[in-house]
């Protein structure tokens, strides 16, 4: 089954839409999908032109395509557990919150909290991601726990905060404090970043560009070779964050 959701013109296009019901499994068994437009609950048809083609007997056979002005739509793919979502343009905050399986492909940019506390599945963002990519909610002690988030462009500050499992790959640059408080999983930064892994206690982070303002509380632990994007690189290896009795591994290109 292929579900195409094209946004209708909106009088106030900057007002966010909250659309956690846009997940493949809902199109199999629900015909009363609603979304929030600001403080008003609306039917899906009020805000989208909806086209459904072909049958499906299980959620993994459902593909949802979002097109149009999608940059202010939040929470798409929340708790998704099967199927596929393709976003032709940009997407708003919290895309793929808590998803456990399936795939989300974003052809444009993703706003903050992409893949927040994700447990499994795959997110591919072909543009840039905002702050808190693959991180946790406020006060949550565990961020992303499983699955893969891959960003072809750059990501903002606090990428993979509280990362606990799974793999986060940012091919471009990250902002400030990627991997802050991380405790497990793997974070790969293809480009530059600032102050990686402050307060980390576990997991592995590899920075293939420059690590600016490198924190003084990481203990040197030799060097090793690592493969990234088909090439081998020599990486300086550190253990830390010592300020926090951390036993994480931070590698920075030599």
């Amino acid at each position: 089954m292929r579900v195409v959701l094209k946004t209708r013109p909106r009088e106030k296009p900057r007002i966010p839409i909250e659309a956690e019901e846009i997940i493949p499994q809902n199109f199999l068994r629900k015909d009363d999908i609603t979304v929030y437009y600001g403080n008003k609950e609306r039917s899906l048809e009020d805000l989208f032109f909806v086209t459904i083609e072909g049958p499906a007997v299980s959620p993994d056979q459902v593909e949802v395509v979002l097109t149009g002005e999608t940059g202010m739509i939040k929470r798409v793919g929340e708790y998704m557990n099967a199927g596929r979502i393709i976003i032709e343009g940009d997407i708003g905050m919290h895309c793929g919150n808590f998803m456990s399986a399936g795939e989300i492909v974003i052809r444009g940019n993703a706003d903050a909290w992409l893949g927040r506390e994700m447990r499994g599945g795959r997110i591919l963002c072909e543009g840039n991601a905002g702050h808190y990519c693959a991180a946790g909610y406020r006060g949550e002690k565990r961020g992303m726990r499983g699955g893969t988030v891959e960003v072809k462009g750059n990501a903002g500050d606090f990428t993979a905060e509280y990362l606990s499992g799974g793999e986060v790959i940012i091919h471009g640059n990250c902002g400030d404090l990627p991997g802050v408080e991380m405790r497990g999983g793997t974070l790969v930064v293809g480009g530059d970043c600032a102050r990686p892994c402050g307060n980390m206690t576990g997991g592995t982070c590899m920075v293939f560009g420059k690590a600016r303002q490198f924190l003084p509380t990481f203990r040197s632990n030799g060097s090793q070779e690592v493969e990234y994007a088909g090439k081998r690189y020599r990486m300086n290896t550190f253990r830390g964050d010592v300020a926090n009795r951390g036993k994480g591994t931070l590698m920075v290109r030599a």
């Binding site: 106030k12 900057r14 007002i15 966010p16 909250e18 929030y36 437009y37 600001g38 403080n39 008003k40 202010m72 905050m93 903050a112 909290w113 702050h131 808190y132 909610y137 406020r138 006060g139 606090f158 400030d176 404090l177 802050v180 102050r195 402050g198 307060n199 303002q213 924190l215 003084p216 509380t217 203990r219 964050d241 010592v242 300020a243 926090n244 009795r245």
Partner: protein
């Protein structure tokens, strides 16, 4: 008439020992107050009556008309924002939260541009704090980190720290050591026993280094950390560890610098580490008078201290998403009610521009920068001068403020209750 034990309505110190002389509906003299207090009591920029924008001019309207029009604006909005609240008293703040719930609005207070990151850090790792009385009577080491109390909280040092003797600190000036950490020299750094000059944006690394030192990992520390020598870091750590009672006060220089709440978290974790050696506490230097109270009131009612989004009928909180600066910068809200603060003066330009684009209503006694962005302004009594109510000091102590005289203005509570009643009737 002289009124004693008056509470100052300006900064988070809420000094409660002022003597104010009143003639009719005017304050003519203030004793014990700092220059900020004098200006607050004696300044005279009050708006005389409600005003509404009429083309390029303003027209005076009645209170009823202004409140009814405000209600209509808010009822018509799909994403209203109710911002401010720190300059008013708890009872009015409480009506504001109920109004936000009724409207499905976002309600936020000035923490969003000051100590919001402090609260986020406290939510992550807790708060080893204490009252100012404890500091005054016990602290023999005081650290001001990225704060300049002599200029921002002028009586903090004379009432609680450097220049104030306490029960266990008989001669404060000799017995208390004061450490100031900042990116530049200030008036406060000039009276410090130890001034630590950190590179801008370097606080997080310095805090991490101090944590490692206190933990006994001195061998790890390089010759300098963000402009601070290893020797000075060792000296500061030793001073703190040998204190009988230490108190860290941090300012907006730490909360709003690179790293934001992670700086505060690191400072709290340093405090926790120091508590393995001695007694140490940490407290934010809350600036905007009753901002602490707005956090308290919001939290009683919603569970969250600021940036509370009621769009879906239940409270949702996520700084960065539901904070006013972010909402305005993204151009999300389509109406705004500003109460007891001045975002026109404090917010980034893009936010001020959005406030000017949408219908913005301000409830405030004074003509200020936000007036110029507003469609309607409703003047009210000044809390602590001609209105009374409960406010919270920066250390979380509630204090009842006095009304010095009965003036001609309604207070925030009167206006907000009327607004609430109209909106509740309209909503049925």
């Amino acid at each position: 008439m002289k009124v004693e034990d008056v509470v100052c309505p300006f900064c988070g110190c809420l000094c409660d020992d002022l003597v104010v002389e009143v003639e009719g509906t005017r304050v003519v003299n203030v004793e014990n107050g700092c220059t900020l207090a004098n200006e607050k009591f004696m300044g005279d920029h009050r708006l005389k009556a409600p005003i509404r924008r009429a083309g390029n001019a303003w027209e005076e309207i009645s209170y009823d008309e202004a409140i009814e029009e405000t209600a209509a604006i808010l009822l018509d909005a799909d994403r209203p924002l109710l911002y401010g609240w720190s300059g008013t008293f708890g009872e009015a703040q409480s009506v504001g939260v109920h109004l936000a719930e009724l409207l499905g609005a976002v309600i936020d207070n000035t923490s969003t541009v000051c100590h919001g990151p402090s609260i986020m850090a406290i939510q992550e790792v807790g708060h080893p704090g204490c009252t100012l009385g404890q500091v005054k009577n016990r602290a023999d080491v005081v650290v001001y980190w990225a704060a300049n109390p002599i200029e921002a909280h002028p009586r903090h040092m004379s009432r609680y720290t450097t220049f104030c003797d306490g029960f266990f600190v008989k001669s404060a000036f000799r017995e208390r050591k004061v450490i100031v950490v900042d990116v530049r020299e200030t008036e406060s750094s000039q009276v410090a026993d130890e001034f630590v000059k950190v590179n801008p944006g370097g606080d997080y690394a310095v805090l991490s280094a101090l944590r490692a030192i206190v933990r006994g990992k001195r061998d790890l520390i390089p010759a300098t950390v963000e402009g601070v020598s290893r020797e000075q870091l060792f000296r500061v750590a030793d001073l703190c560890m040998s204190a009988k009672f230490g108190a860290i006060f941090f300012g907006v220089g730490l909360t709003m610098a690179q790293g934001k709440y992670k700086n505060i978290r690191n400072a709290i974790e340093l405090t926790e580490e120091l508590n393995r050696h001695t007694k140490f506490t940490i407290s934010p230097m809350r600036g905007h008078w009753n901002v602490y109270g707005s956090n308290e009131v919001f939290t009683w009612i919603t569970g969250y201290p600021y940036a509370v989004d009621f769009a879906r009928g239940i409270a949702f909180y996520n700084p960065g998403e539901t904070t006013s600066v972010d909402i305005l910068r993204r151009g999300e809200c389509d109406a705004c009610l500003v109460v007891a603060s001045d975002p026109g003066a404090h917010f980034p330009r893009a936010c001020a521009e959005h406030l000017a684009r949408i219908p913005t209503v301000q409830i405030d006694p004074h003509v200020n920068a936000t007036t110029h962005l507003s469609r309607i302004q409703i003047p009210v009594a000044v809390t602590g001068i001609d209105a009374e109510g409960t406010a919270y000091r920066m250390d979380g102590v509630p204090i009842r403020t006095r009304r010095l005289f009965y003036g001609n203005y309604p207070d925030d509570l009167d206006v907000l209750e009327k607004l609430y009643r109209i909106i509740r009737e309209a909503r049925g």
